[in-house]
């Protein structure tokens, strides 16, 4: 394992110290609870947004704390959902009287831990909590009898857009409905050229030959749905975009935010090559790209690979996307 770390057991703790040191004007970190707060939380009268999940997906979620996005992020161990105590504590700290939205990615562990937190918060403090569970990964079969689809790329876009709506002062129910709508209008699919290595495991989660890739992977180094021979950027783009477009489906005349995301070990030059292919496929399908995002935003440690997320948007969503945001990971307009 080759990583810039000290003891694998300390990675999350030390990264949080690093984040705090690097963003002293913007963030506050509760190291006992591994919670990253917006420096000026709680904001009176504003619905507060909390997210969280296993670490290893940086900048998600801690890097999306700040004006116009999250009020707090709870960091779990690498790829391990945070515990209910964290979400409870964060909920109490950020509530400004207007209630709290929990943004949860659909993984069994995350859902259960957030559920327990919401139950405890309701019993304990009477803070109004609503939850949205993201499940945009079309690589996974959706069914009542399974764990359902994973929450992946849409989480980034949702946190940004819903964050802007919260900043406008909209009430909790409206915020929760908006979040649900965004999730329902977004789809993603990812692939890997290499496995990631979980620090505490010390070796790659799966092995891929030099001429192989995994298609349909998530963001936890879990193997994908199928292993295919290595393909060109053009073919990879089709493998990702086609099932995404077919699933909602997106059609001629639709407007989208197109998000090409790197898995942490993929350099920007390759992501732009990918975006070039994705943009061409969308153009041929008559789908308009209203906005785009290209970069490493929801990652899987050092995995090389990428994912494509499309979110169907209208003027309202585009307006909220364009609204000012000031976080370590996404910043514009202020």
């Amino acid at each position: 394992m080759k990583k810039l770390i000290n003891d694998p057991a300390d990675v999350v703790k030390e990264a949080l110290r690093g984040m705090e040191a690097a963003h002293p004007g913007h963030l506050r970190v509760d190291h006992d609870h591994a919670i990253i707060y917006r420096k000026d939380a709680p904001r009176q009268g504003k619905v507060a947004l909390i997210s969280g999940g296993g670490s290893g997906h940086e900048p998600l979620h801690g890097g999306f704390v700040g004006t116009g996005m999250l009020d707090a992020a709870c960091a779990g161990e690498v790829f391990t959902s945070p515990v209910p105590d964290q979400m409870m504590e964060a909920t109490k700290q950020v509530d400004g009287g207007a209630g709290v939205l929990h943004i949860v990615k659909n993984y069994t562990g995350d859902v259960m831990n957030f559920e327990m937190a919401a139950e405890m918060a309701a019993a304990d403090s009477g803070i109004e909590v609503q939850s949205v569970v993201t499940d945009d990964d079309v690589a996974v079969q959706d069914s009542l009898y399974t764990a359902g689809r994973r929450g992946v790329g849409i989480t980034v876009l949702l946190e940004k857009i819903v964050g802007a709506a919260a900043e406008e002062g909209r009430p909790l129910q409206e915020i929760a409905d908006l979040a649900t709508r965004i999730n329902s209008q977004g789809r993603s699919m990812g692939m890997a050229l290499t496995s990631c290595t979980v620090p505490s495991a010390g070796k790659a989660t799966f092995d891929l030959a030099d001429n192989e890739m995994e298609v349909g992977i998530g963001i936890h180094g879990e193997p994908g749905r199928k292993r295919l021979p290595l393909a060109s950027a053009k073919d990879v783009a089709s493998l990702l975009v086609d099932p995404v477009v077919a699933d909602l489906p997106y059609g001629k005349g639709d407007s989208v935010i197109a998000f090409v995301n790197g898995m942490g070990g993929t350099p920007l030059i390759e992501l732009y090559v990918m975006y070039n292919e994705v943009a061409q496929i969308l153009e041929q399908a008559g789908i308009t790209v209203a906005r785009s995002l290209v970069g490493n935003y929801i990652t899987s440690l050092d995995m090389a690979g990428c994912s494509v997320t499309l979110l169907k948007v209208d003027d309202e969503l585009v307006g909220l996307w364009d609204a000012p945001v000031n976080t370590p990971g996404l910043r514009w307009g202020c």
Binding site: T80, S81, V83, T108, V140, P223
Partner: protein, 209 residues
């Protein structure tokens, strides 16, 4: 009938399991690498290390107080799927012992069942979803069947049945937890949670009789 189980015996159970988990971190994580995210070993190890230090640092009035504390500790330190599942197991296990004067075979069986029901309530797993429940369910049945022969026999039977359930997960197609993302490709791999659950029962058989 055998002696009632003591607080000391329960602590020995948990400590023995903590040791077993620690010795098998690599195994559990490897199983989780194949069909999950390579953290089940470290998750369990983190949680049960915390449990041991809670046991070492506190005196408990009663088994139910002890197990509720264990459950809370797991919920607060493990995270992931196994944290709420094992946490809920021990919380319910403890609740079932509330007010119980002497924990005999029958009471132990009831507590185990309550714990497993907690797991099902939380995780909504069904049989053959390829989860820890596939070790727990046959273990409960085996326990009840052997209960007339006493705690030792019941736990031994439960541990054996759990092991068979664990082995049976290998051929299952996962429908819950992370392994479900793999679809067909989950077949052929043993479930990590069923593996740790079996160890928990094996530790019980070794310490609670």
């Amino acid at each position: 009938m055998a002696e009632a189980l003591t607080l000391d015996a329960f602590a020995r159970w948990l400590k023995q399991f903590a040791e077993t988990v620690h010795d098998n971190v690599g195994l559990l994580t490897d199983l989780d690498s194949a069909i999950g995210d390579a953290d089940h070993g470290t998750n369990m190890d983190r949680g049960f290390k915390a449990v041991v230090s809670v046991l070492d640092g506190n005196g408990f009035e009663s088994p139910d107080a002890l197990f509720k504390k264990v459950g809370m500790t797991l919920v607060s330190t493990v995270g992931g799927a196994s944290g709420p599942l094992y946490g809920t197991f021990f919380l319910r296990f403890g609740s079932a012992l509330q007010g119980v004067e002497a924990v005999g075979t029958q009471e132990l069986g009831k507590a185990l069942r309550a714990g497993v029901e907690g797991i099902v309530t939380r995780g909504k797993a069904e049989l053959e979803d390829k989860t820890m429940y596939d070790a727990w369910a046959p273990a409960l049945e085996a326990f009840d069947r052997a209960a007339p022969e006493g705690t030792a026999a019941a736990l031994a039977a439960a541990a054996t049945a759990a092991g068979e359930g664990r082995d049976a997960t290998t051929d299952m197609l996962a429908r819950k937890g992370r392994a479900s993302y793999l679809g067909e490709r989950s077949i052929g791999h043993q479930d990590p949670g069923a593996t740790s659950a079996t160890m928990l029962l094996e530790s019980a058989a070794a310490t609670l009789a």
